[in-house]
């Protein structure tokens, strides 16, 4: 198995190379199946790796080659497959494969079909490097790789200027976070003298490092996570990233890449657990993001924007969970969120496909009759994310709520519950506006409505099944089914240094209070969904244009003016500074010096060229005078 491990990331890389180099010369079918097939093979190998880890209870190490040695910095190009990375590998390759298959149908008429699959495969490769690397440099390599793929795929339709701007925005905002991650890595190397996970965590255990240094490392790493996982203050790129094709939104901007920040914190749980302050910051940022994004989501009318803000909000909840020290619960929510958010995005893609590119839910309505499969899977997705009992989202969210109640207190629990309440509200609004009521689009669109092809509906159904049963992997212990908390136990398996990969965090609540919390959350979700059904399936409650909104609703529709604020605070001052620097430093000072030197020599030349008068006698006199001069200096 050890020798097969490197194949898991490299198969998609081969897919990328084949599709990227020979794509235009191959038929779309071949392109699509090379793209999907390479990910499927990776998925199969990931299952084998998972089973091996499960059987041996120890991580698999595989060093491909020694990457570099500079001084006492040694970096290997090596893979570490332990409980955490093998679980992430299953999510990335599994969901990745389903989305690849979906893309075959969704992108069928696109001219850049093979380019799309090449980028997707490159993304899977980078993401696998990120989660499988056995040191921070590998993680950083993958981290940058997924950022690049995200950029390429957001700007996939590069003829549209807005899409390119959105891609730039995502890339630049991610760069801010990447700087934090990089500085964190420098500090880790300075403190521990290594970047290999194994050595860093071993030295962390044996040496007494100041808490201040640990907190600084954690906060710097968290800045990286903020950028990648779209938290306050760097969250505005994610909604704009919806410019990319819908499968991209599902794969990169919902299920996998944006959870890299969660993975980073979970991977470094040894560091974070030592710093109470850092965990506190993680929790506060997560909670603020979760509530803010959910509030904005209430007033968005673009089907993908609602889902994007929902993703930001859910990622916030995951960070709250991490901040509570419940790393496994965060990973559980990552998993279920990957299922139902990928499902919702792909469902939205199916709707957009049927509507001929229309994304505004005000122009939809009544799609239930025309898109029966999409309707049912979207229903499951909506119920799962809203926390309807016994669906996957219910269990994962409930666990986070229990942890906030236990480790944070009532206020944290109330805020997290408020965020879930908002989740149910905007999802209900989205769902009922889209599928209920009467059709509000044009006559042409009504005529064109059709269910998507099987290549799109089969992945939808598969994800719907996962969204329903996904909760079974980590049932709360009050269920007494024998295999409760399976995922948490799995993730606490032996890792490097014989420590648990992700330590188990118990909820110390009595069974009755847990039942109470669970019951409360279920009632809230069901009541809110019923309420949204009652209000949004009526034609009179279709949202009005943003300009006609007043008060709070207007603020929400304009996303709390965060973009405008950033424009005023950062973009415009930077532009003004750049213009000033351009004029005074570049044009005036630097160009002045360079041009001045040139002009000086021209003047000098113009003066001295008068010596060159062309008269031979004159030259002869010069020559003789020079000779006499030489003789005189030599003899006297």
């Amino acid at each position: 198995m050890q020798t097969l491990i490197p194949l898991i990331p490299f198969l998609p890389l081969i897919g990328f190379a084949v599709n990227g180099l020979f794509g235009p010369r191959m038929s779309k079918g071949v392109s699509g199946w090379i793209g999907s097939g390479s990910v499927l093979l990776s998925f199969v190998l990931s299952i084998l790796a998972f089973m091996e880890v499960s059987a041996t209870h120890s991580p698999i190490r595989s060093e491909v080659y020694h990457f570099m040695s500079v001084g006492n910095l040694h970096i290997s190009f090596g893979f570490l497959v332990d409980a955490l990375s093998s679980w992430m590998m299953l999510i990335v390759t599994g969901i990745g494969f389903l989305i690849h298959v979906y893309s075959i149908g969704y992108m069928h008429d696109d001219a850049g079909f093979s380019r799309f699959f090449a980028y997707l495969n490159l993304f899977i490769f980078s993401m696998l490097l990120l989660i499988m690397g056995d040191n921070f440099v590998m993680l950083f390599f993958g981290w940058e790789g997924v950022g690049l793929c995200s950029y390429l795929l957001i700007g996939f339709w590069f003829t549209n200027r807005d899409y390119n701007l959105a891609a730039n925005k995502a890339f630049i905002m991610n760069r801010i976070g990447d700087l934090g991650l990089l500085l964190g890595m420098f500090l880790i190397f300075k403190t521990f003298g290594s970047l290999q996970y194994e050595e860093v965590f071993a030295r962390l255990a044996e040496s007494q490092v100041e808490t201040g240094v640990i907190t600084s490392i954690c906060l710097l790493l968290f800045v990286g996570a903020i950028g990648k996982s779209a938290q306050i203050p760097l969250f505005t790129w994610l909604p704009d990233a919806m410019a990319g094709p819908t499968p991209v939104s599902a794969l990169i901007h919902a299920a996998t890449m944006v959870t890299a920040g969660i993975y980073l914190v979970a991977r470094c749980n040894g560091l974070f657990s030592l710093s109470h302050e850092a965990l506190q910051v993680v929790a506060v940022v997560g909670m603020a993001t979760s509530v803010l994004a959910a509030l904005i989501g209430l007033q968005q009318n673009d089907i993908k924007k609602v889902l994007a803000y929902s993703t930001v909000s859910q990622l916030g909840l995951m960070f709250v969970s991490l901040g509570m020290g419940a790393y496994a619960s965060a990973m559980f929510h990552v998993t279920t969120h990957a299922f139902f958010k990928a499902l919702l995005f792909l469902g939205a893609g199916s709707v957009i496909h049927a509507m001929g590119g229309e994304q505004d839910i005000r122009n939809m309505g009544g799609l239930r009759k025309h898109l029966p499969i999409t309707f049912w899977v979207f229903l499951i997705g909506t119920f799962a994310i809203s926390g309807v009992p016994l669906l996957s989202g219910f269990f994962s969210k409930d666990e986070i709520l229990a942890h906030t109640f236990d480790h944070g207190g009532v206020i944290w629990w109330a805020l997290a519950s408020f965020s879930s309440l908002l989740t149910a509200t905007y999802m209900g609004r989205l769902f009922f506006l889209t599928f209920f009521g009467s059709f509000r689009g044009t006559h042409e669109q009504a005529h064109h409505l059709h269910e998507s092809p099987p290549s799109m509906t089969i992945p939808l159904v598969a994800l719907a099944v996962l969204s329903v049963v996904g909760g079974l992997i980590n049932l709360p212990h009050i269920f007494h089914t024998g295999s409760t908390q399976w995922l948490a136990h799995w993730l606490s398996g032996t890792g490097i240094n014989h420590q648990p990969v992700v330590p188990l965090t118990e909820v110390h609540l009595s069974a009755s209070s847990e039942w109470m919390l669970m019951g409360f959350a279920s009632v809230v979700a069901l009541v809110v969904l019923a309420f949204t059904y009652a209000s949004y399936s009526k034609p009179s409650n279709v949202p009005v244009p943003d300009e006609q909104l007043k008060g709070a609703a207007r603020v929400l529709a304009y996303k709390f003016y965060v973009d405008e604020l950033y424009n005023a605070l950062f973009v415009r001052p930077t532009e003004a500074l750049s213009k000033t620097l351009h004029y005074y430093v570049d044009v005036w000072a630097i160009d002045g010096v360079v041009d001045g030197v040139g002009r000086g020599f021209q003047t000098l030349g113009a003066t001295f060229r008068r010596l060159q008068n062309g008269n031979i006698e004159y030259y002869l006199i010069g020559m003789v005078a020079g000779g006499i001069g030489l003789l005189l200096t030599y003899f006297l």
């Binding site: 060229r609 008068r610 060159q612 008068n613 062309g614 008269n615 031979i616 006698e617 002869l620 006199i621 003789v624």
Partner: protein
């Protein structure tokens, strides 16, 4: 032969050669006819040749005379090229006055 040459003091050869060389230099500097200028150059070369031959005899060292042969060969070549150029200049300017040749300037 050796005695005859050696009967003349070496100083005299040096004075003669210096005079010849100075005449050549003055001719080059003052005359405007290109042919005369070339002749003056020859005069300068031969002043040096004479000096080399004289010292060669006095010191009983053949090297100086070998050098003279080389200089004569080069002088012959120089005269051929110089006169060739002169012919071309004359065809273009109908004159051998070097002060007319001031086209190679800024």
């Amino acid at each position: 032969m050796l005695e005859i040459v050696r009967s003349v003091p070496i100083d005299y050869f040096v004075y003669l050669c210096t005079a010849l060389f100075a005449i050549g230099v003055l001719g080059v500097l003052t005359r405007r006819n290109a042919i005369v200028v070339l002749m003056c150059v020859e005069l300068m070369l031969n002043a040096v040749n004479l000096l080399l031959a004289a010292f060669s005899t006095y010191l009983s060292d053949a090297q100086g005379q070998i050098m003279v042969f080389f200089i004569m060969v080069v002088a012959a070549a120089e005269a051929a090229v110089g006169l060739g150029i002169l012919v071309m200049i004359y065809r273009n300017t109908k004159s051998t006055d070097i002060s007319l040749l001031d086209n190679l300037k800024w």
